[in-house]
């Protein structure tokens, strides 16, 4: 009888332990700039991630718990956020962040801890360089710069380009350099390469020079607020050249700021738009669900890349068959032709996403998807 009681107790204890183990959620950490200068992008990406979690709340028969930490658009906070997620929240993997400089600070911490991170929209090539555990769901600046140069030459027919960059933003400086390199390599000529500083409001000096140089296309890798002002001033000064931008311009407020002057503006972004033709089933589902959850705001490329990052990470955990960081890392590295909202994604040997670069044009006060380019780097 005593033996039976002991056996029964053991069975109960083991059963409860097993149940507890099965119940233990898979924790995914998210570090994004929810306040500070990059908050507009960080908040949209967070919304996309949380929507993904709502749609797919379980993997491997376990609940997924998403822990979001604000990095305040600050390097020190970004490093602290990643350490906190790893050490205090005991996450199995991490998503983030918007902003390459923040990703670099966080990446050093995760690398040391051996926890896989999937970057959302940190496009600087240095983010994943020499890293075993850092990946990204977005393309890198050389790819985007090359695609923009290809579009400028092949679609817009431009042979002479001008570049106006924000010398204080790593994103702007890097992207403009890659555009310039690709444009010149394709036989084009960059007639003007001018600078401004974050916070500037008057761009007439630079724009007057650009108009005088006879550029056929102006490339402005700016954030949407300053970019819209540049376009407005360029048109007011009589500039008739094409104006191109990049993914940081993909914000509905750009049209509000720029008004009618922004008509015809083209920019590269992740290949997603809520009204794009030939939309995949996943993109359709995402768009419909977004409109239900956030009826007051349109989805954009940032929310789509946030959603894709979450779904791709969950898919990697599923393929890994466990929450072991090494297994997840291996699964992420083996990602091939994964179909998401922002198109097909393959993770290459440098842990960067190889995917099409989308283009949108402002037509009739709306951001219209015009197609995508798969550039050669």
């Amino acid at each position: 009888m005593k033996k039976f009681a002991i056996c029964l107790a053991l069975v109960v204890v083991l059963g409860l332990a097993g149940a507890a183990l099965a119940e233990e959620p898979i924790r995914i950490g998210v570090y994004l700039p929810l306040t500070g200068q990059n908050a507009f992008g960080g908040q949209l990406e967070r919304d996309g991630i949380l929507m993904g979690n709502k749609e797919k709340p379980e993997v491997l028969g376990r609940k997924i718990e998403v822990i979001v930490v604000d990095n305040k658009s600050d390097k020190v906070e970004a490093a602290n956020a990643v350490v906190r997620l790893i050490e205090k929240e005991k996450v199995h993997a991490i998503l983030g962040t918007y902003g390459s400089s923040l990703a670099m600070a966080g990446g050093e911490v995760s690398e040391k801890a051996g926890i896989p991170v999937l970057g959302t929209s940190c496009t600087n090539p240095l983010v994943t360089q020499g890293k075993k555990y850092y990946f990204r769901a977005c393309y890198i600046d050389p790819l985007q710069g090359s695609a923009a140069a290809k579009f400028a030459m092949d679609v817009l027919g431009a042979k002479q380009a001008a570049v106006l960059k924000d010398v204080a933003q790593d994103y702007s400086v890097g992207l403009s350099a890659y555009f310039k390199r690709a444009f010149e390599a394709a036989g084009g000529q960059v007639v003007s390469d001018l600078n401004y500083q974050s916070g500037d409001q008057d761009f007439t000096a630079q724009l007057t020079t650009i108009i005088g140089q006879g550029a056929e296309v102006l490339f402005i890798p700016s954030y949407f607020a300053e970019g819209a002002i540049i376009i407005k001033q360029a048109r007011e000064l009589g500039g008739t050249f094409h104006i191109m931008g990049a993914d940081a311009m993909d914000n509905p407020d750009m049209i509000t700021i720029g008004g009618k002057d922004i008509e015809g503006f083209v920019y590269s972004t992740f290949p997603y738009a809520p009204d794009m033709p030939g939309m995949s089933e996943m993109a359709k589902t995402f768009t419909e669900n977004w409109k239900v959850q956030f009826p007051d705001k349109d989805p954009n490329a940032n929310s789509a890349i946030g959603y894709d990052s979450y779904m791709l990470l969950v898919d990697a955990i599923e393929r890994a068959g466990s929450t072991d960081p090494e297994a997840i890392t291996k699964a992420l590295a083996e990602t091939m032709n994964w179909e998401g909202v922002t198109g097909s994604t393959t993770i290459n040997e440098t842990h960067d996403a190889v995917k099409p670069v989308g283009f949108k044009r402002v037509e009739g006060g709306k951001q219209v998807y015009v197609g995508s380019v798969i550039p050669e780097m």
Partner: protein
């Protein structure tokens, strides 16, 4: 209390701190270690600003500039040549910086000296100004450093910044420099020269009338403060392993100034206490941004809420203790002994 007894107690405190840090290294998780490291760096930065502002009365807002100089000089000296070649994507790093490499201690020292040199050079024109004008001039200097950092891509890599800086700034280095800073500044402010600085702070005209070379003393204080700000910047760069000019905005100076004011202008003990409290509080308050579920009611987390609470805490300090946590007072062994005796007396009553 006898001097040798104080020396013994000071050494015992250092040994105890060393033992705690040794224990922490082996037993605390990376998150707490990170906070401990930031505490040390923030104390260094705040002590250096307290020397300039709290003890000499120079309202300087240029600390971020000195930190940037220290961070860049030190980082360029400890970065391996191969890493330098990799990260300078737009323009190659100028010779001899491209091949130069130094041990961490030398690099931090060089960062401090470079910052001190700039502090010395700008002090002559800037320190002729006073009050708010001095604040604006030093703020201008910090902005110039940042803008130059953005544009000198052959040295600083421009807005792309430096990445992959070796992570040498561990607890040992950070607290070693922290203790040295505290010791040096404590000895300085308690010396005759320290009394001169306090005299300048309290009444510059009277100090000048007594034959004090006010400008010279201000320059020395400003230069020493700049040196330690450079050291703090160098340690921060190595701790984070990545820097760029955007990191050294006015907000960084403001964060250091906040520690100094909250601790008490002219109090080293206050600065140390405030450095610990503010650094820990900023992280500890993160819980207020987490979503809360009470039964069926779910309250979403509000990003930035901890900064609201933190600001309220600072407001509370300023309203109810305008002079800061310690005012101008210091925690001394004599004071502690006196307090213990009083406590003992109270217990016997």
């Amino acid at each position: 209390m006898a001097a040798d007894k104080k020396t013994f107690l000071n050494l015992a405190s250092v040994v105890l701190l060393g033992l705690f840090l040794w224990w922490a290294q082996g037993h605390l998780d990376g998150y707490k270690i990170q906070i401990l490291n930031l505490v040390a760096i923030n104390i260094i930065l705040a002590l250096s600003l307290n020397l300039i502002y709290g003890f000499t009365g120079l309202f300087s807002l240029g600390h971020a500039g000195f930190m940037a100089i220290g961070a860049y000089v030190s980082s360029l000296l400890i970065l391996p040549a191969a890493q330098k070649a990799t990260i300078f994507l737009l323009e190659p790093l100028v010779w001899p910086l491209s091949v130069l490499q130094a041990p961490f201690f030398v690099a931090v020292l060089a960062g401090g000296i470079a910052a001190a040199l700039f502090g010395f050079l700008i002090s002559f024109p800037v320190l002729r100004l006073g009050g708010d004008y001095l604040g604006i001039a030093t703020l201008g200097f910090a902005e110039i450093v940042r803008v130059v950092g953005n544009n000198l891509s052959g040295i600083t890599n421009g807005a792309l910044g430096l990445k992959g800086i070796p992570n040498y700034a561990n607890i040992g280095w950070n607290y070693g420099w922290c203790l040295f800073t505290l010791y040096f500044i404590a000895r300085l402010v308690n010396s005759n020269f320290g009394n001169v600085l306090k005299a300048i702070r309290d009444d510059e005209t009277a100090a000048r009338a007594m034959g004090i070379d006010v400008l010279r003393c201000k320059v020395v204080s400003f230069t020493i403060g700049a040196f330690f700000a450079g050291v703090g910047g160098a340690l921060l760069a190595s701790l984070l392993t990545t820097i760029d000019p955007k990191m050294f905005l006015f907000l960084l100076t403001f964060n250091v100034l906040m520690i100094v004011v909250a601790g008490g202008l002219g109090s080293l003990s206050g600065t140390v206490i405030s450095g610990i409290v503010i650094t820990v509080l900023l992280e500890w308050l993160r819980f207020v941004e987490n979503p809360v579920t009470i039964g069926s009611l779910s309250i979403p987390g509000i990003p930035g809420m901890r900064m609201v609470l933190f600001s309220l805490a600072l407001l509370f300090i300023i309203l109810f203790r305008r002079e800061g946590i310690m005012g101008m007072k210091e925690i001394t062994w004599d004071g502690l002994a006196c307090a213990c005796r009083r406590k003992g007396g109270d217990d016997r009553d």
